[in-house]
């Protein structure tokens, strides 16, 4: 052959150059730049923006939901979707709260509640993988049922859990040094899942399944099992989120999480997850959640009139995804 090399030799260039290059090549770089731009703009617009208290408040606003975002992202990658996340999170609070009020140890109550949420996920997994219904419709039905269960379990009134022992409330309200436990837990979950999703064979199968379910089955992957597990995982993480919310708020609210599903899915999609399955990353999804949350927080901080807030929020969202799209394109 005179001019073409058929097989590329693996690039082993100067490591420092390659790090910058690798950063530029990452799907998430566009989002990071957009968020940075927003931060810089905001720190000029408001002297309070870059204070620790504000950053803490902004982080607290999406940290627990971020755990749900992780579950949703994994599920989306496998080709599913879950509309019930808001209801199931609320149900987790309600079950644990109710058990606690009936005299059960709060830690045990929480464990049982997470178990119950996991069972709900398995239930949805059963309907989608064994019976073959679409995730959308199954999770919609479960969303309604779980909300009903919340109402039934509380009579529609929030359960006051003021009496939760302080060591339990600590997981929701405590801090390690200046950093709230909630934020620590959030980072642990995010980093763990991001790592697993990128590196482990187990989670690689999630990508295969979502990318082309048939080809995955033809590669010997038990695709139904994979989807079953991701569906279950998503609900289990909702359960965990519900418990953290309960510890944080010291109450269980039957109406909690209304409309959460759209927010969570939007975060994942902004972060590069495809609704068709097969692509997405935890890191990206969390950046999506950060973007959404920072925009809302910024508008609140700047005292923008409520009547303008939604318009501005929607426009920033649209602009951000458009810019991100072009950044990715030019990179590609």
């Amino acid at each position: 052959m005179d001019h073409t090399v058929n097989m590329p030799t693996t690039a082993k260039a100067d490591p420092s150059v390659s790090l910058v290059k690798r950063l530029l090549k990452m799907r998430e770089t566009g989002l990071i730049l957009i968020i940075l731009a927003l931060f810089i703009g905001m720190s000029f617009a408001s002297p309070y923006f870059l204070t620790w208290v504000n950053i803490r408040a902004m982080t607290m606003a999406f940290a627990v939901e971020g755990i749900v975002v992780v579950g949703m992202t994994v599920l989306l990658i496998s080709g599913g979707i879950d509309l019930s996340v808001g209801s199931v999170t609320a149900l987790s609070m309600v079950i644990a709260g109710w058990l606690f009020l009936s005299g059960i140890d709060p830690w045990l109550a929480s464990g049982l509640s997470i178990l119950a949420c996991t069972a709900i996920g398995a239930f949805m997994g059963f309907f989608t993988t064994r019976i073959g219904l679409h995730h959308f419709i199954v999770s919609l039905a479960v969303m309604v049922i779980a909300r009903g269960a919340c109402l039934l379990g509380t009579g529609g009134r929030p359960l006051g859990l003021y009496t939760l022992p302080p060591e339990f409330k600590f997981i929701g309200q405590g801090s390690i040094g200046p950093i709230p436990i909630v934020i620590v837990m959030f980072f642990v979950v995010v980093i763990a899942f991001d790592f697993m999703l990128r590196r482990t064979t187990m989670f690689r199968k999630v990508f295969y399944t979502g990318s082309n379910e048939k080809a995955a089955a033809y590669s010997g992957i038990r695709t139904k099992k994979v989807v079953f597990l991701t569906t279950t995982l998503c609900s289990a993480l909702c359960g965990v989120a519900g418990i953290i919310y309960m510890a944080r708020f010291g109450s269980a609210q039957p109406t909690f999480g209304l409309g959460m599903e759209l927010n969570v899915i939007a975060a994942a999609v902004i972060g590069g997850a495809s609704l068709k399955g097969g692509s997405g990353s935890i890191f990206g999804a969390i950046l999506g959640a950060v973007l959404l949350s920072v925009v809302s927080s910024s508008l609140a901080l700047l005292d923008v009139s409520v009547y303008w807030q939604d318009i501005i929020r929607g426009s920033i969202l649209l602009t951000a995804v458009t810019v991100d799209h072009y950044l990715n394109k030019s990179r590609g």
Binding site: N54, M58, M60, L151, G156, G250, Q253, S296, D303, D310
Partner: protein
């Protein structure tokens, strides 16, 4: 500026709510502002446009970043706000609540409508018109505490005082007029003898009236809160009356509670509060009262007329 009831320059009071685009807050904020102006104080309207507690807590905490003198807060839920409210007060920002409370927190005052009184008034009004024996239905909005209270208090009162009146329908419509239409249509179908309906908010009332009119049923409707459409229905006689909390009073007294808490050094009461480290300006409960809107006085409740020439923010 001790010993004076005047704001220092730049002294700011914030009113923080959830679903901040809701028209209910408009007259409340007007009252809040009017009181503030009288004392030379600045005001800010804040909160979250969403029905989302985490967002409201974040917005409340962001308010605190600006170290305002006080915050008049409508906490979406009681207990989740305990810790943020206490932290605010520890850091020198006074907090009073309105329309919903966080009783276990260190907030110094609470201004609200007496939902029990509203419910009692509605019940007596029905009985006055229909006698003690009639069929009635309610629409509700489970999970929304003040709406819940309006309904449960009404039902309890009826059961306790007028056991011969019969509850024949109880449907959740969640402020959605189309859902209210559907539910009311069904209730009216199932109960041709229906005489009365009590609805805890105006959105559902709009749908309910449409259904009742369509079915040509004779139902006496009363509801709480007001919208232009229900106002017109009141004028047209399709709705008997509406009970509307005195929102302006709520805002005005709310400001007073917050402001006084921030200026509590003018006050040295005969108790242990000061020595025990409490703010002496404790106002456990202020009733802002409610108005009964009927054909006769309906014209005074057109919010668009009221707001003409006023600045909403």
């Amino acid at each position: 500026q001790a010993d004076t009831l005047k704001c220092a320059p730049g002294e700011t009071y914030i009113m923080n709510v959830m679903v901040s685009g809701h028209p209910y807050w408009i007259p409340v904020y007007q009252g809040f502002k009017q009181a503030a102006e009288a004392f030379g104080c600045e005001t800010v309207f804040s909160g979250t446009p969403d029905y989302d507690i985490t967002k409201q807590i974040a917005s409340f905490e962001q308010d605190l970043v600006k170290s305002p003198a006080g915050v008049l807060l409508h906490p979406m839920q009681a207990d989740p706000f305990i810790e943020p409210i206490n932290r605010a007060i520890d850091n020198g920002t006074q907090v009073a609540t309105f329309a919903a409370d966080s009783p276990n927190s260190k907030r110094t005052g609470y201004v609200t409508s007496d939902n029990l009184a509203e419910a009692k008034f509605a019940a007596e009004e029905f009985v006055a018109a229909l006698g003690e024996e009639f069929e009635f239905a309610v629409l509700e909005n489970p999970g929304q505490s003040n709406h819940d209270l309006r309904v449960t208090a009404f039902l309890d009162y009826m059961a306790a005082h007028y056991p011969k009146a019969k509850l024949v329908g109880r449907q959740a419509t969640n402020q959605d007029s189309n859902a209210a239409y559907r539910a009311t249509a069904s209730i009216v179908q199932a109960n041709p003898e229906l005489d009365a309906m009590w609805i805890p908010e105006a959105g559902s009332a709009e749908g309910a009236v449409a259904a009742v009119l369509e079915a040509k049923a004779k139902v006496m409707i009363m509801h709480a809160d007001i919208t232009p459409t229900t106002l017109e229905h009141i004028k047209a006689g399709n709705i008997h009356a509406a009970l509307n909390p005195n929102q302006g009073m709520q805002g005005f007294m709310g400001f007073m509670a917050t402001f006084l808490a921030a200026h509590s050094d003018v006050f040295d009461p005969f108790n242990d509060y000061k020595v025990s480290g409490y703010n002496p300006m404790q106002i456990p409960f202020v009733d802002n009262g409610f108005s009964v809107i009927t054909k006769e006085n309906a014209d005074s409740f057109d919010l668009n007329v009221y707001m003409a020439g006023r600045n909403p923010s």
